[in-house]
Structure formats: C-alpha cells, structure tokens
Amino acid sequence: MNDKPGYRRPHAGTQPDYLHPAYQSTNLRSPSQPLVFLPHSLSEITGPTIGAERVSETDNDLTAQHEGEPQGERIIIHGRVLDENGLPVPGILVEIWQANAAGRYNHERDLHDAPLDPNFTGTGRTVTDAEGWYQFQTIKPGAYPWGNHHNAWRPAHIHFSLFGPSVLTRLVTQMYFPGDPLLEYDPIYNCVPDTSAKQRLIASFDLEKTIPSYALGYRWDIVLRGRDATPMEK
C-alpha cells in the first residue's frame, strides 16, 4: 500500500522559531537540542475530531453568558477557515479566550489593576460550517501591561485554538485589530520575520458585517496546513 501524503512543511519566515529572545519566556522554555525530523505517518495524519456534538449554538456569543451585558464595544468576528490548498475546513472546533474591555482576564493569575466585569467570562467556542465559516459575538478586549520588558503592553488580541483534520493542523494563535499602535512594539506579534505573515494576524474592519446601531464587524480568515499534493512514495 502506498503511503498517504503528509502535510506541507512551513513556508520560510511564516512560523516562529522556539527561541525568540525578545519574548523572554522563550529563553528557558525553548528546546536547545536539534529537533528530530518527523515523517508524517498515520499517527500524525489522523487526529481528534471534536465537532458540533460538544458545542451548543449559543457558545459563540460571549456577550450572552451572564444576566447583564458586558462592558465594552460590542463586535462580531467572523471568517473562514481554509487549508493551504484553499479548500474550506468544515466541522472543526474553534475555541477563543480573551481579556475584558478593561484589559483584564477572568483568571486568578491575572493581577493587572483593572476591573473584572461580572458579566464577562471571555470564553467562546463554535464549529465551522460546511463552507468553513465561523462567527463570534463578543466585546473588543482591552490592551494590558505585562512584565516582559519596561513599559510592555500587549496589543488588544483574541486567542484562537483550532483542531482541523489532523494532529498536524492543530493551531493556536492570536488575532489582532487594525490600526493598533502597540503592534510594532509587541515581541509576540513580531515573532516571525515575514511581514505578510504578521499582517495576516490582523482582522479587517467589515462594514457589511457591521450591524447598524448594534455591533462593529471584523473579518479574519485562518489558514491551516494543507496536504502535500504528491505522496511520499512514487
């Protein structure tokens, strides 16, 4: 039996190296020994299939999880999950988490002196539809300080976690907002050299998705690794 095709290796400059000294937490947590090249076997071209059966229809509305409305600027974020071959990735789990409008996470380790919002948890999940589309309703998160260097602030961002069809398509990343002056100073946003790759992490304002008198719309598409066109064995 011929082996099934593996997945494409990352395009140069678009994925971070583990050691990125400007982001100090990488200094003691990045491998120092050479990585061992992994051919993609059945163990990697398979992966968990966590779908709609574990997600309710309202899990994608972060503004409706409490009795009252959360503070902040109401937004809709939507987009398409595609693979590197341009094909939609349907039926996959998308998880998000974020700070509240004041820049505070509802997390015991977040000690930032900004108010918690009793009407905002900051957690959402959904499953992509048959065409790969996802959508969340939430509030725009605030920027917040962190201890990486003097006067360090994270730009406003939302954390995204996606599975996709295999172990190799697993992706955790962060989405940013257009025009944020903190982006150029942020060592996490700047952890790859490829300027286009960085810019693809920034959502675009979407007037068509904006709901009059209610919420601003943003569009952010996500690309997961794609299969190699040619099988490894000829």
């Binding site: 937490s25 957690t123 992706l171």
Partner: protein, 188 residues
C-alpha cells in the same frame, strides 16, 4: 490556489479560561477495551524549575492499533468507548497524571511497524509554537524496530520512553530545555 498557514502564537498564561473545559484525567470509560496505564510526570524548564502553566494534548490509537479517524482505513475494529484524545493539565508543581489504555501498534511509512506510542503536544506560555513529542513504553518488544525511534540519536531515545514503576504505572517527564535530559521534540 496556494496559501500559507497562519502563524502560530503562544497560548499565554491565561489559556485555562478557554481550554480547560476539555480537560481529562481519564481517557477511558469502564467499557473501553485494553490494558489500563497511568502515566504521570512533570514539566520543567531549562533551569529545572517547574512549569506550572503548561498543558498537554494526547492522541493515540485504540487497543487494536486503530485511530478513530477517517484516514485510518486499516481493517481493525474501532472501540466505540475510546476516542483517543485527552487534554491534560499540569498542577502548581508542573505535575500531570492521566489514565488511558496502552495502544496497539500502528503501521509506519514504507511498510514498517510502529511500536505502541502516544502523540503528545505541549503548550505553554513561552512556547510560540506547540511542541510535538511521543510517549513510548518501556519494555515493548517493538521499540527496537520502531522507525521513528531509529531516527533519534541513541543517547536521547530514553527521553521518549516512559519508565514503568509498577505494573501499568509509568513515569514520563517533559524537559523543555537542557544539555543532557532535554526531551526529544520533533520537527513536524
């Protein structure tokens, strides 16, 4: 059409609020087929300090050596009581512990046979991209012929093999960085 995969970023220190709903310390239910194994260990950094904000994800075949996934077309039985996935947290001391079943062997590339193993993804603040490694089992006859273990320098192979402390009780640590003990991570 050709696109490039979205850049990976760290889960950061606050991922718990979004991700712990899928945590599991036991991947089995009573009816799951196979030999139960308990695997525990600790995540440490390059100074040997504990990493108390890491998270593991585990993916494995069932006891028959079949993955619950459409790409696995082997003529082996699925176990309706085993999915093969678990998200495993670490505690304040960087320790984790989970129960699963020992998977059967699965085919490797080019007609080879892989020794029983779990695929493990490691996430943490400071990991801009998650790490990928494997857990093999001490004393497995197939370890000697495993095609991936054969690609790993002999002196580092042991970092991928869980040590058996008692019947069904295994110990396996994640050393993120170090000159001699560093866990083997794969370029995936």
């Amino acid at each position: 059409m050709s696109l490039y995969a979205t850049t990976s970023h760290t889960v950061g220190p606050y991922y718990h609020i979004g991700l712990t709903w899928l945590n599991r310390e036991d991947l089995t239910v009573a009816a799951t087929l196979g030999e139960r194994v308990a695997i525990s260990g600790q995540v440490v950094d390059g100074n040997g300090d504990v990493v108390n904000d890491a998270m593991l994800e585990v993916w494995q075949a069932n006891a028959a050596g079949k993955y619950d996934h459409p790409e696995d077309e082997q003529d082996k039985a699925l176990d309706p009581n085993f999915e093969g996935f678990g998200r495993v947290p670490v505690d304040a001391q960087g320790r984790f512990r989970f129960t699963t079943i020992k998977p059967g062997s699965v085919p490797g590339l080019q007609g080879t046979t892989q020794a029983p193993h779990l695929v493990v993804l490691v996430f943490a603040r400071g990991l801009v991209k998650h790490l990928l490694t494997r857990i093999y089992f001490d004393g497995e006859a197939l370890n000697g012929d495993d095609p991936l273990l054969a690609c790993v320098p002999a002196q580092r192979r042991g970092t991928l093999i869980a040590r058996q402390d008692a019947a069904g009780v295994y110990q396996w640590d994640v050393v993120l960085q170090g000159t001699d003990r560093e866990t083997v991570f794969f370029d995936y």
